[in-house]
Structures are given as structure tokens and as C-alpha cells.
Symmetry: C2
Subunit: 398 residues, 2 copies
């Protein structure tokens, strides 16, 4: 049997990171490649208690089919959480909230509802591989625009929009970008929104790490600037409650949301009820602010440790972005260095990092960067792993 | 903002059933329209106990990210369950098992990996609206083939394959078809498999109700006949453990499975871990056979009651299929009757049934049928509801 795979899926390969992660299931490998929250940050006791209460009081609702829009009390809890995090984000008269099976599904449904094969999607270059692969799975043309220290190049976005004024989607991770670590300035948020408005494009604003800011002032989400319906906002509880729960949400205009809900029906009918109900109870009965504050303390310490180890062991051999939040540090070797050789040699020494080209809009593009995560490894793993990396690096820096 | 919706989603409407169900959230409405398992059938105590154990012993695994293929012990438990239900279904050397977020996602991923826009999909007519809408969401051409009392018309399938030899997919629900209630004979299973083999088409065999047989002998799944990789098998635990959990599975050849796993990554990364782990523990530590037997006793009684009430209140005014298993009875009014008028009048009397045209490959086709579910309503609701329907029916039968 020779399978006739659809055009959209024919060329698509598994995520390079997920393949690397499979090889690093080995507990001896120091996990700088992952994007996992620290197990220490999981609210295990609270979840366990809430789960018992949900199954004691509302078992039938937790086990039965439900509506595609999501568990109504969770949608309300999400709205309250959003309003606290990003005041004015949702226009209650015009916008709706949809519960999705993790932020990944929010990206997938948005792509499915908007993109025809061959359509153009603008993205930061580098960007989140999970989103890039989803766009690729609709056989669109990905146009990467360089990421600068204060966010995507506005000139770069405008140049593409001028050349391709029918561009449908601009995908952005404004806060603590994955993998780049940088945060988009308010000026650029306003500028890219104005461009989207001018060209009738949709901004898909992905904000998985927004709550995890370790320093400096909060910058409002692009969606809070949106008076025209040009922004779809996507976020999740993966980084602050549990990624295994797969509970995320989309906020978008009602007209578009109708289609997103139909796509959701076709995709998985609804997000599992038990994890929706536990998330709702957690948001409503636990002190989410205190929980996030304790995560921030934990991750800030780890970020500081990793950055200080970079200074110690990499010295001036690489440049890196010190992130104001999120989970990742983006390191760049001098032009012409053998980055791939470095990543392979590091893995042989049991330290896993992700090669930068995995995140490129054009994965065959040359990259001298690599991504490191500081939330998953322990402090000891960070100090040990960075010493090893510093040693390995010497042989691969040009 | 005028949204430019993708071609594939532009014309797609929400599932008529899910819209009807929203209107019937009213507890005074007798729910013959649903497809929900009976709340009485949920193993609430066991799930509650298992959930505590999982969160006590394996909280980090339940809350953390995992692999797209699914929780490994659940995949093993699924294989064992399949082997007990459908001996020989999986060829361990050639096939793989993927955990999906409900059977709906199994259908979605199969469609996404195989179908280009404009491709032809053959389906039973009528068929499961959730699957039909998923196919429509890839902008394919649905070709309905009449459903006969022993399954899809083989001549009908062959005629389409002859005319369109590049047909990619044949979607079938061989057991206790939704909505038709009938079961495909072994002879037809063999015949349709031979046709798929001859034309290089894939059969997507959807078996959500297979375990719920109330009488007569088990007929092996088409996948058990498959020596060539022409069959993708899709099933779930929605009807025997919990639909709210959204835990289903696909069994397919490894070559195709590679693509399905990539599509799964792009869709929701992985199915939520907590419900995967609870399902695994339920399958491994509870007596699933005894649980299914008790569901069969419960549903057989309800089916018998509904059929006897049909005989009492509908008399010879309609014909119906007495299902050997599953959840649905398919009733057909005489040609020329006002079926839509009947469904609306019934809803005004607080009895909800689903109009047959919702299940047609061409939803603008005329239908004189309607679908009734017997698993959700109580015995009292069945007797009361059928009396009301019998009364309403008189005004609409030609």
C-alpha cells in the first residue's frame, strides 16, 4: 500500500525538538532542550484536593459530553484572569472566549479557519516551532521577519505587506519570545497593529508566558489595543498550572469565533471536562496570584543562575538575550561557527540544547544560535551543564 | 473588519445536533436527540478512586507535557483491549496505536493527513454528522452511498470507485451505525475491503459502539481482515468509560502513523495526561468486561422499551431499524410526510429528536427519517416521550 498523503502534510516532519526530547528521556541528560515547567512548580496538593472535590460533587458533568465552547464557569474564570492580567483585553460586547485543548489547538483552529493553501503567514524569525509546523500543515507560505531586541522588525513586516497586501496572518509572541527571549516594545505593538489594520490582516497574538515576568514593567497585550477585531489572542494555563492538562483559550471577535467553534467541534468536540473543571476550581478557589509569584521567584533564580553561568563559562565567545520573563535563553555563536557540531557534541556529553535552525521559518537556513531552557533543570544541573557546555563550546566557536 | 475565512471553513455550519442540544439543555425536554451515554452507566466510584491514586502516585507525570503518541501504558492497555474485542485487529509488526483526543480527533487527523481539497470521500448515507462535518472542513467532495439493512450498498461504492478511481477515503461505521442503527454483514465487510484494496483507497473504520452489542453474534472489524494497510481503525472509550474524558485511539500502519503523529503534534501536542492515566488504570485494574456487561444490560432494556413504545404509539405509521447494539433507533416516515414539521412540533411538546437530513451527505436532500437515542433518557422519559411523539406524529404522516 502506497499512501497518498495530502499535499499539506506530505513534506511535514516531526518537530525537531520533540524528537530531541525523545532521545533525552534518559535521566542522565541535562535537559536544557525542553520547554517544560519545573515539576517543583506544579500545585500538586491543590490539584489533588480539587480533583477529589470535582469528582465527589460533579462527577456526571466531569464525565459527560459538553459544549464545544468550553465549560461555562471556566470561560468566566478565564475572563476574570485575563482582565486581571491584561485589563481591557476582552471587549465583552464584541469578543467571545473559547476553551481549547492547549494553546497549540488555539493556533491550529485559527490557522484552519483563516488560511487557504498558498496564503502568506508572517512570523518572527526565529519563532515557536509548534506554531510554524501547524502553519506548514496548512500548506501556507511562511515569511520570516527578523526578530530584533525590541521585537519583530516593523520595516520587515511592512515590506512584506506592501508586496503581498493579501497576507492573512501575522503570528507574534510579544512577551519573552520563544526561542528569542526578547520582548516587543509598546511602540512596536502599536505599529504592528496599525499595519494589520491597514492591510486587513489578522494578528495571532500568542502569549503563553505573559504571567511569568521577572523584571521591568508589564507591557499591554496587542489585543488590548484592538478596536477593530484584527487581533486573535491565544494563551493557556500550561506554564502556570499544568501543561499536561492541555487547557488554553482564544479570545476573538464573535463573528470569527462562530467559525472557530465549528472548527473546534470538528477537531475534538470539546476539551476534556475533568481538566477544564479542575482548572476552573483552581482559578476560583486558590490564590493564583500567590502561585504565580512563587513560580516567578523560582524561575527568576534559575534564570539568574543560568545567565551568570553563561557569563562564567561562555565569556565573550557568544552573545545572548537575557530574558525579562518566560523560559528560554537564546545564545548566538560567532558567524561561521559550527553550531550543529556544538549541539551534537554537547549531547554526547549528556547536555541537550536545541539548534537554532529548528526555529527558522526556512529550516534549511543557516543558524549560529541555540536555545536553552532554565525552568526544567535543577540548579545543580544548570551549574554542571553550563560548565560542560563551556568546555565543549571551545572546539566549535569560530 | 471583514474576516476572510478559509475556503474549507467558509460554508461550514455548526452541527445541527449540537445546536439542537443547546436548546434542550432545558431539563424539561425529553432528550431523544442526544448521543450521550446514560449517567447511570458512568463508573463514578472507580474513576474517583483511580484519580486520587494517580494524583497521589504520579502527579508530575499527570501534570507535565508528554509524548504525542500517547501515554505508553495506555497504548499497551488499548492494544490488550482491542485484542480482546477484535482478535487480530492490530498487526504488531506493521501497525501502531495512537491515542487521540476522542474518536472525533482520530477522524480529523486521518482526514488532514490524506485529503486534499476536492478529493472524494465515500460515506454511508446517512452517516455521523461529526465525521461528515470534519470531512467538509477539508473542502472535499462527499459522495453518499445508500445504507441498506446489512450495510452500505456495495454496488454503490463500486460505481463511485469506477467513476472516480482516485477516491482517497471510504468512511464506514460498520457496527450499529449512527444514525442508521444497522450493522454491516461480514460479506459486505469483505467486499468493501476488496474494493478498497483494488482501488488503493483507505477505509476509515469508525467503531465507537462496537462493545455495546445487545444480541446476535459479533462480526469482526474490517481492520481484522486487513493484510494490506488499507484500513485505519478508529475507536474510543467515550461510550464505555466517559465521553467527557475525550480518550480515543487510532490503529494504522506505521508508515501512515508517522504522519498522523505529526498531525497530532500540530493539533494539540498530546491528549491530556490525567484522563489518559485514569483510563489506563481503569482498563488495567477494573473489570472492564463486567462494566461493559452491565452497560449492555442497561441499554438493552432501554432499547427494548423504546422499540416496544414505537410499536405501541407509532404502529404502522413509520418503519424503523431495531438496532442490535449502539445507542440509536432510526425511524422513517412515509414518503412525502412533513418530517421537519414533525420534529419542530415535537420540540414544542418538549421532546427532542434529530431530523434525518442532518445526517445526509447532501444536507439539502429531502429526508423522511429522524433519529432517536435511548441511552440518555430514563425509562419514564421513554414511555412519556413516545406517547407524546405518537400523538404529534398523527398530524405529520402522509
Amino acid at each position: 500500500m502506497e499512501y497518498r498523503i495530502s499535499d499539506r502534510m506530505a513534506a511535514l516532519k516531526p518537530s525537531a525538538i520533540r524528537e530531541i526530547l525523545k532521545n533525552t528521556a534518559n535521566p542522565n541528560v541535562i535537559p536544557f532542550a525542553a520547554g517544560n515547567p519545573s515539576p517543583d512548580a506544579f500545585p500538586v496538593k491543590e490539584i489533588s484536593k480539587i480533583s477529589s472535590i470535582v469528582l465527589e460533587n460533579s462527577a456526571v458533568a466531569a464525565l459527560q459530553y459538553s459544549v464545544s465552547e468550553g465549560y461555562a464557569p471556566l470561560r468566566t474564570a478565564v475572563d476574570n484572569f485575563c482582565e486581571a492580567q491584561e485589563p481591557g483585553l476582552k471587549d465583552n460586547d464584541l469578543d467571545d472566549t473559547l476553551i481549547v485543548t492547549g494553546g497549540q489547538q488555539g493556533i491550529d483552529l485559527t490557522a484552519k479557519c483563516l488560511l487557504n493553501e498558498g496564503d502568506i503567514v508572517i512570523c518572527e524569525d526565529p519563532s515557536f516551532i509548534g506554531a510554524l509546523n501547524t502553519f506548514r500543515s496548512y500548506n501556507v507560505k511562511l515569511m520570516g521577519v527578523p526578530l530584533e531586541s525590541d521585537g519583530i522588525s516593523i520595516e520587515g513586516v511592512e515590506a512584506i505587506l506592501k508586496e503581498y497586501p493579501r497576507t492573512k496572518l501575522i503570528y507574534l509572541i510579544p512577551n519573552f519570545q520563544n526561542p528569542g527571549g526578547c520582548t516587543m516594545s509598546l511602540a512596536k505593538r502599536k505599529a504592528v497593529y496599525e499595519l494589520a489594520k491597514k492591510y486587513g490582516a489578522i494578528i495571532l497574538e500568542d502569549n503563553p508566558y505573559g504571567a511569568l515576568r521577572y523584571e521591568n514593567e508589564h507591557i499591554p497585550a496587542i489585543k488590548t489595543l484592538d478596536t477593530t477585531g484584527n487581533v486573535v489572542y491565544c494563551a493557556s494555563f500550561s506554564k502556570i498550572i499544568s501543561p499536561g492538562f492541555r487547557v488554553g483559550y482564544l479570545v476573538a471577535r464573535k463573528e470569527l469565533m462562530q467559525k472557530l467553534v465549528v472548527a473546534k467541534q470538528c477537531s475534538d468536540v470539546h476539551t476534556p471536562m475533568l481538566t477544564q473543571m479542575i482548572s476552573q476550581q483552581f482559578l476560583s478557589t486558590c490564590n493564583i496570584d500567590a502561585h504565580i509569584s512563587s513560580m516567578i521567584r523560582l524561575y527568576r533564580t534559575k534564570r539568574d543562575l543560568m545567565c551568570s553561568m553563561i557569563d562564567t563559562y561562555f565569556g565573550d565567545k557568544i552573545t545572548y538575550v537575557r530574558p525579562e520573563g518566560g523560559l528560554f535563553v537564546w545564545c548566538t555563536m560567532p558567524c561561521g561557527s559550527d553550531m550543529i557540531g556544538f549541539v551534537k557534541a554537547a549531547l554526547e556529553k549528556n547536555v541537550a540544547v536545541v539548534p537554532g535552525n529548528a526555529f527558522c521559518a526556512d529550516p534549511s537556513a543557516q543558524s549560529f544560535s541555540f536555545r536553552m531552557n532554565f525552568s526544567t533543570p535543577t540548579a545543580t544541573q544548570i551549574t554542571d551543564g553550563m560548565e560542560i557546555l563551556g568546555d565543549v563550546l571551545k572546539n566549535f566557536v569560530k
